[in-house]
């Protein structure tokens, strides 16, 4: 049986890159480009400097995967980007979104995260690491950081989507 250690960094990067591109292109007709200059920061577990300049609200979607490999992926979106995503996915105007409230935006970001993590883990499942998804959850705020426990491996990937930034934070349980 293959072990997680056999998956190389480039496979993780390629898999997450394909997942993000696929989801953004299919659901939002937008091109997402991986920003290679500063990814894989702090993979050694050293204190994490927040990868996003937080200006105002952030909406963070999380979905986990459990099975032969287990972990969590966080998708960080600035609030304005999150609104844009929701508006596009749901076919709603900004005004309609404001009336509908945060809950609707949260749900859209949750679903976007679910699809991204699903596409990521389905590729790993086909490589011999079956696992299943958890239910999405959403974090909102303007001054916070999410820290992994020391036994987790952390990989951070940044993407540019039009004028917006997307940060993908992949936390994985290290192989036993």
């Amino acid at each position: 049986m293959p072990t997680i250690d056999q998956i190389s960094e480039s496979v993780f990067r390629e898999t997450i890159n394909r997942a993000v591109q696929d989801v953004f292109k299919t659901m939002l007709s937008k091109a997402a480009t991986m920003n290679n200059s500063s990814d894989v920061a702090n993979a050694d577990g050293t204190p994490w400097e927040h990868p996003v300049q937080i200006n105002g609200q952030q909406v963070v979607g999380t979905v986990g995967f459990i099975g032969d490999i287990s972990g969590l992926i966080y998708l960080y979106l600035e609030a304005s980007f999150a609104n844009e995503v929701a508006s596009h996915m749901l076919g709603m105007t900004n005004q309609e979104l404001v009336e509908a409230g945060d809950e609707v935006v949260n749900d859209a970001v949750g679903e976007l995260t679910n699809m991204t993590v699903g596409t990521f883990k389905n590729q790993l499942a086909d490589k011999g690491f079956p696992c299943r998804l958890t239910i999405p959850s959403i974090l909102r705020g303007s001054n916070f950081s999410i820290e992994p426990v020391s036994s987790a491996t952390r990989r951070i990937y940044r993407f540019n989507v039009g004028a917006h930034n997307l940060v993908v934070d992949l936390l994985m349980k290290t192989g036993d």
């Binding site: 299919t26 076919g91 609707v104 699809m115 596409t119 299943r132 998804l133």
Partner: protein, 393 residues
Amino acid sequence: MRYKILTVDDSKTVRIIVKKAFKSFDCEIIEAANGVEGLAAAGKEMPDLILLDITMPVMDGVEMLTKIKSDPTLKGIPVIMLTAEGGRDNVLKIAKIGVRDYIVKPFKEDVLVEKCGRIIDLKPLTDGPTKAKSIFDPATILVVEDKPAIIQQIQEGLKHTPWKIHGVNTTGEAIDFCGKNTPDLVIISLSLPDEAAFTLFRLIRQNVKSKYTPIFALVVKTEMNAQQQAQQVGFSYIVTKPIEISELESKIAKAMNLDTSQRYFAVDGDVFVMRLPENTTQTVVGEVLNYLKPKIAEAVDSGIVKAVIDLHELKGLNMAVIKLLIQAMQTCKELALQYTLIGNSQIVSECKGFEDTRNWQFHDSIADAKASFGKSASSSNAGTAAPQPAAVA
């Protein structure tokens, strides 16, 4: 019948996208947020199709699917999985429980509609479900013909209609056009190389949006084999070259289910007018006959008591036209409508030559005809300005 689609997903976003995808089709979308709600909705609504997510709280999609398949009343309902849970082994495992299709998220709305369209007979919603479009409404007609002269002839011949005739020379251009527009009718020349007309026909029929779009074949009159083949394949109508434009026009109107009654029937003030065109062909007679009774009844219903049968444009009489006129007069009489006729000299003289029409009396204009109602109202002759025609067996 209106189809019901049940979407079971804990994400409201997905349920909204599903609704959005089907909003231009005649179907009802029912929502449930987890397996328990989904089973309850399935039992209550008996949907024609279920779209099922896997990862959901309370009861997940696999459990719901298993329960559906073990319930004798529900197990026949087709299920399409719509989930982010992919991966070969997973898909195979779930497929074994019994699903009709498996869509892995992210998904395009078009793909969802197309896959559902393979299971249920999705029909596009018409603008007004009860009101038929009329001949005065705009429509888009795509003509696929490699000979520009023919396209031009059709465009020229139909330029008096509100229809936009879009001509293309190849099937590639046609597919491109259909991708961006939804034509109301397509005319394809069978003379396109390599039987391309038949390939295009199938492509248009496979698309859910154009599944019911009328498709005409265009073929030279003498090419019987091609005509036969087109009929077998299911072309809505075969137009033969040389093209008889007026015939083409009425076939298009019929295929698009247009209300052509306004061509022949109108209300002018307090008078109901039935007008026959210059060239009242057999097809026209058929059309007028179809509308005759309902149109007269509609007029009577709205309080009209006078009718004018206007033949001043009509070129000549024949048996079909005479029978139609007699039936029109008969219907007026049955509904106690006063009626009178308008004719031209040709028609007036032709009427003298037939036993049934010999005694018909005509006015020269609408104004004359209207004025005659005043006079006849005071007479006791059953209110008819024209002598009563003899019954036709």
